[in-house]
């Protein structure tokens, strides 16, 4: 299971890639999460422009067996979504950290980034289930 150390993680299994200036957050789900879900068959993404709060359910990933909410790791505005996933949701399984990214948020509260987990802390949580 891959858990890249340069990313931040949430307890609800999203990863966050923070841009150099700390303002642009790219979000996806972890390798652990996609493996647990199994084959992803449907993705519902937020509308660009939507203002979201940290911890708010903003997207839905459905596997064959279940539907899972995806939560915004930080507050801000959705500025871009990965529309390629609408036709090819399996990208989340095949490439959770690259082709499978879900949406980008322009962060409005840098303090929230400190709340996110590093890879080691996330691995511990994921393994404990």
């Amino acid at each position: 299971m891959q858990t890249p150390s340069e990313l931040k993680y949430s307890r609800s299994h999203e990863w966050s890639q923070v841009s150099a200036d700390g303002k642009l957050i790219t979000v996806g789900i972890s390798d652990f999460a996609q493996d647990q879900l199994g084959d992803v068959v449907f993705v519902e993404l937020p509308e660009p422009g939507r203002k979201v709060n940290a911890g708010e359910a903003v997207a839905v990933i459905e596997s064959v067996k279940t539907a899972s909410d995806i939560y915004a790791p930080v507050s801000g505005e959705i500025i871009e979504v990965n529309e390629a996933l609408l036709d090819a949701p399996e990208g989340i399984n095949d490439s959770p950290y690259e082709a499978g990214w879900l949406f980008k948020i322009r962060s409005e509260n840098p303090a929230e980034l400190a709340e996110l987990l590093d890879a080691a802390a996330y691995i511990k949580i994921a393994e404990e289930g």
Partner: protein, 351 residues
Amino acid sequence: MKRTSLYETHLSLGARVVDFAGWEMPLQYPTGINQEHLAVRSDAGIFDVSHMGEIRILGERATGFLRYATLNDPAKLRPGRGQYSMLPNNQGGLVDDLYVYCEAENEYLIICNAANIGPVVGQLKDLARAFDCHVVNESDSWALIALQGPGAALIASRVSSDPIVDLKKNRFLNTEISACPVKLARTGYTGEDGFEVLCHPTDAPIVWNVFTDAGALPCGLGARDTLRLEAGFPLFGQEFDATTNPLCSDYAWVVKDKDFYGREHIWGKPCQQKLVGLKMSQRGVARHGYRVFAQEQEIGKVSSGTISPLTREGIALAWIDAEFAVIGQSVAVEIRGQHIPATVVKPPFHL
């Protein structure tokens, strides 16, 4: 939690094991549900369904007993033949759906769902008294492996000494696979050609490996569910339950016009709702319990739904008000508050 005799085999294959009706069963293998599904549509897959129940019916009046206890007519069977059937309750619904195999004159072997072994055995025993028949729960004495797909016949004929290719649908024979005695039936639950193989639990790993060595891909209960749904087959607990009248579904043919238990609650009753297929016109996964609408009125509920791994369209089965149960009718399924358009179609969805 119960385990089948193939549990260790599943673990060694890397299966994700889940609780299913009190059994630890493989949901999927590392290949994933979609690839397992497609392997069965294009080649061959195998499934461990040993959790299902096996019940033997014996007695001089066994045929008459099952004519009364079940909805299909076992008098139409001869030794070596099987039929899909159902066990009615006396409230206008079902206890379970079944496969009934005729082993010999007045001897039958019934396959039922794992979750319903208790109620099925209980009701059969109650009804058997009046017919002086024996009802024997043999569920712990049998493993059941399903070999399914267009390549199944080639695999089965390669590993069996008997002429399997000539075996007709719904018939079975007693043969051997790798020196293991098996009952091999040309039946299945995927919409493809295939076989269901009953064997002794201790022989199951041998039979399983013979099939996988011959090219069959191990498939879990996840693919079993998407395959049966794509084929439009009902699953007890989803499409059918203690309140559903099978005469209001595409399986009305199962119910034969004869004296049967609970007949007055099933036969000739008007259908307020009917079981139909739905094809989603937009992306969306309709799931069990989601509401179905027509002209902004709620008309029913989804019983099962998924994205077809083959066509990648949203598909579902649903009980909807009879007046809307017309092929081509436009409806909508409520998914997370949104009404997603769908059309009433006649399953199967994959052909």
